[in-house]
């Protein structure tokens, strides 16, 4: 009996997941009957694509696969996902029992996905395309597991690099070869609250230069002291926690501590400990939250906001908001203060979705075609696509569709104000995007070690020097492998 109930419930879950999948399908009004490509090799047969089951990837890929198969009859695209047992949560709500299921993303499940994938790859198999969701890209690229895509990009007459953000295509190259492709991108930019600064200070901050976290903090220290002079006034410098800020500072200063050429680490000369203590000091002074779980109340004033997404929010009435406000920040006092650069001056970007081709793939031609399909305007206009589309036409169109609402199925006629807004937005995005020049492939293993060990420091379990010692030995062990 219990087993029967169990089976029933699992069926229910499966159905509800399927329902989720269909809901997220993009509005399919744009697919036009396109001409079939005639390039070397045939687009036929089966390909598979593997992703760790973050629901969004899966739904997006399934929608793409269906469109692709309709476009190229004779092909079959399967999505291989990794799923863990969803946790059923029972809550009492208004006297009724509400059941919900959720998939938790835990490190063990991630490690399991990777070891499954690795076994397949080493065994000469694996999916034809690999979603880069949680892959340690740097290791796979180093071992030649990703097929070089340059050949396809250069020889395919239907692929035009100028249709995409070329500086990003350049930035992701590894040793002169393109081995993976992002389908979207985003970058960090800072805004500042001009009401918290004197007009002169605001004038120096108001530029579209570059910023670093370290720079932001030092430039606001004076203003912070005067603004928080009152007794109970507590305006934070940033809305993040100490741990987050440390992570950001680590990303900026990575190269000071790790020497990849010599494969040595340098955590014990005091500068790493100083960085840790500095961040703790910021928290003690009230610049940032010391508690990981503390949340800033939305709308509360902060000196700076660092934002990562310059795409357009969907719930704004673009007819009413003032032109630049929607991506400037929460309040109308917010002004853009620059794009984030690393300590070495390079301007990095991030992507949410990216793909690589498995070097073991037996059907690379079709896999490439599918990859290209994911980059196409049609797919890049998907409503659940995050970040900015890498496809130029799609980026422009998506901005327009966001503003007139057609992306969400409620088209309103464009007013002159909305037209201006669109133009202003597009110009700003392109201005910032043009400056991107790097994709620093962070070593995920070292990042994980840093996160783990520094957490002990911010918990108060270890002192800075203990953390440094532990990191020095662990990172050196890793680098020596």
């Amino acid at each position: 009996m219990k087993k029967a109930i169990a089976l029933m419930l699992i069926l229910c879950m499966a159905v509800s997941f399927a329902a989720c999948g269909t809901e997220n399908k993009p509005a399919d009004g744009t697919s036009s009957a396109s001409v079939k490509h005639e390039v070397a090799g045939e687009i036929a047969g089966e390909i598979s694509i593997s992703c760790y089951d973050t629901m969004q990837y899966k739904a997006f890929l399934e929608a793409a696969a269906n469109l692709f198969m309709a476009k190229y009859p004779g092909t079959k695209v399967t999505i291989k996902t990794f799923s863990t047992m969803p946790e059923v949560k029972v809550m009492e709500k208004d006297g009724a029992t509400v059941m919900s299921s959720e998939i938790t993303d835990d490190p063990v499940a991630r490690a399991d996905y990777l070891s499954k994938l690795n076994t397949e790859l080493i065994g000469g198999g694996g999916a034809d395309l690999l979603a880069l969701d949680i892959l340690p890209i740097e290791r796979y690229a180093k071992n030649g597991q990703f097929a070089p895509l340059d050949e396809f990009m250069n020889s395919d007459p239907d692929f035009h690099p100028e249709d995409y953000r070329q500086n990003i295509l350049e930035a992701v190259k590894q040793g002169g070869h393109t081995v993976f492709l992002p389908t979207d991108y985003s970058f960090n930019y800072a805004t500042f609250d001009k009401s918290l600064f004197t007009p002169e200070q605001a004038e120096t901050l108001k530029n579209e230069g570059t910023f670093t976290y370290a720079g932001l903090i030092s430039s606001a220290e004076g203003a912070f002291a005067s603004a928080n002079a009152g007794a109970d006034k507590k305006i934070r410098m940033l809305e993040q926690s100490a741990r987050f800020l440390f992570g950001a500072l680590w990303d900026e200063n990575y190269s000071k501590f790790i020497n990849f050429a010599d494969r040595t680490a340098n955590f014990t000369d005091g500068s790493f400990a100083a960085l840790l203590e500095a961040v703790k000091g910021y928290a003690d002074k009230g610049y940032i939250f010391s508690d990981e779980n503390a949340e800033i109340i939305s709308g509360q004033q902060v000196f700076f906001r660092v934002k990562s997404d310059m795409s357009l929010a969907y719930d704004l009435d673009y007819n009413k908001v003032s032109p630049i406000q929607f991506f400037d920040g929460g309040s109308e006092n917010d002004i853009i203060g620059g794009i984030q650069a690393n300590a070495d001056g390079n301007i990095p970007f991030r992507f949410f979705r990216g793909y690589a081709m498995n070097a073991n793939s037996k059907n690379q031609r079709t896999a490439w075609e599918f990859l290209k399909f994911l980059l196409s305007e049609e797919m890049q206009l998907s409503v659940d696509g995050m970040g900015l589309p890498i496809n130029n036409a799609a980026r422009a169109k998506k901005a327009e569709m966001s503003i007139d609402g057609s992306l969400y199925g409620e088209k309103t006629p464009m007013t002159e104000g909305m037209q201006n807004l669109l133009a202003e937005y597009q110009a700003a995005v392109e201005r910032f995007s043009d400056r991107i020049n790097a994709y620093p492939l962070a070593d995920s293993t070292i990042s994980a070690m840093i996160r783990e060990e520094t957490a002990h420091f911010f918990d108060g379990a270890k002192t800075a020097s203990e953390v440094c010692e532990a990191l020095q030995s662990r990172v050196n062990l890793y680098l020596g492998e």
Partner: protein, 293 residues
């Protein structure tokens, strides 16, 4: 039996020593068992080491995890969550049985036969082959996983339980254990039976198997526990979470959902524990038997 040469005092000391050691060995089980009757809140309170806002108000600077053995209040909520709210839990347990049981039985049959073959057939490379068995047995799992996958792929069974079960059945461990135990059997038995005209089959069934009770119990117990607890192979070969064994699920909740781990562990270890109780009697019997001869 009790006419020991040891004095009474020595006896007492050794008993106290054993009891202390026994308590130490029981501690993890006791913690798991009592933890399974605690509420999720109590568990988090016991095992967290990060300071909460209240701790800071109290002026605490550090906080230690504690091993508490008495739940207050006693609650069955964890069991309810595990068994009723996570219906797949029972399904996964059934999956575990579907893997562990065939491996145990299969490897018992195969290793008995192989070990018997080793015992009665004297050929030139016998010992060399046996060394190969031992070497393979000693190889760590990391070394055999990928080869296993390649073979499973070639046989087309890489997404079914067979990919786990078949290598399990042929694992060298059983052959090693059985052969070592058969070595202890008196060869005179075989000779006598052969002279009486019994064929190797008859000797196997009527003489060898009854004598091997203890080894059979040991093998069944160890193989069952091994495959009940397996994680790595299942992770690699099983695609669908409804087909996963319980051990994989358990290894995941051990990381993130501390509030469930105790009850889940208790349910999980019930079956092997029962097996242990059953098998232990046979282990003891085997000891008596070989003691008599």
């Amino acid at each position: 039996m009790n006419t020991t040469a040891f004095g009474n005092r020595k006896n007492l000391v050794s008993t106290v020593l054993l009891v202390c050691l026994g308590l130490l060995f029981l501690l993890p089980l006791a913690v798991t068992l009592s933890g399974s009757f605690m509420s999720e809140g109590e568990i988090t309170l016991n095992y967290t080491t990060s300071l909460s806002a209240f701790d800071k108000l109290d002026g605490l600077t550090e906080r230690f995890a504690g091993l508490r053995l008495i739940p207050s209040p006693v609650t069955l909520k964890q069991y309810a969550t595990v068994l009723i709210n996570q219906p797949a839990f029972l399904l996964l347990m059934f999956n575990s049985i579907k893997i562990a049981l065939p491996v145990t039985l299969g490897s018992l049959i195969i290793s008995m036969a192989t070990a018997y073959g080793f015992t009665i057939w004297n050929w030139r490379y016998k010992e060399a082959l046996f060394i190969v068995y031992i070497v393979v047995m000693l190889m760590p799992l990391q070394a055999v996983l990928v080869p296993n996958y390649i073979i499973a792929d070639a046989l087309g069974i890489q997404e079914s339980y067979l990919a786990i079960i078949l290598p399990g059945i042929f694992s060298p461990f059983g052959v090693f254990l059985m052969r070592q135990s058969m070595k202890a059997l008196p060869t005179a038995y075989f000779e006598a039976a052969r002279i009486d005209g019994a064929g190797p089959m008859r000797i196997f069934f009527s003489l060898v198997i009854p004598q091997m009770k203890s080894a059979i119990a040991a093998l069944c117990m160890l193989q069952f526990i091994e495959y009940w607890n397996l994680v790595e192979q299942a992770v690699i070969f099983i695609k669908d979470y409804t087909k996963e064994p319980l051990s994989v699920y358990l290894s995941r909740i051990a990381e993130g959902r501390v509030g469930l781990i105790f009850a889940a562990s208790c349910v999980f270890l019930f079956l092997p524990f029962w097996f242990l109780l059953l098998g232990q009697k046979d282990l003891e019997k085997g000891i008596e038997l070989s003691g008599v001869k």
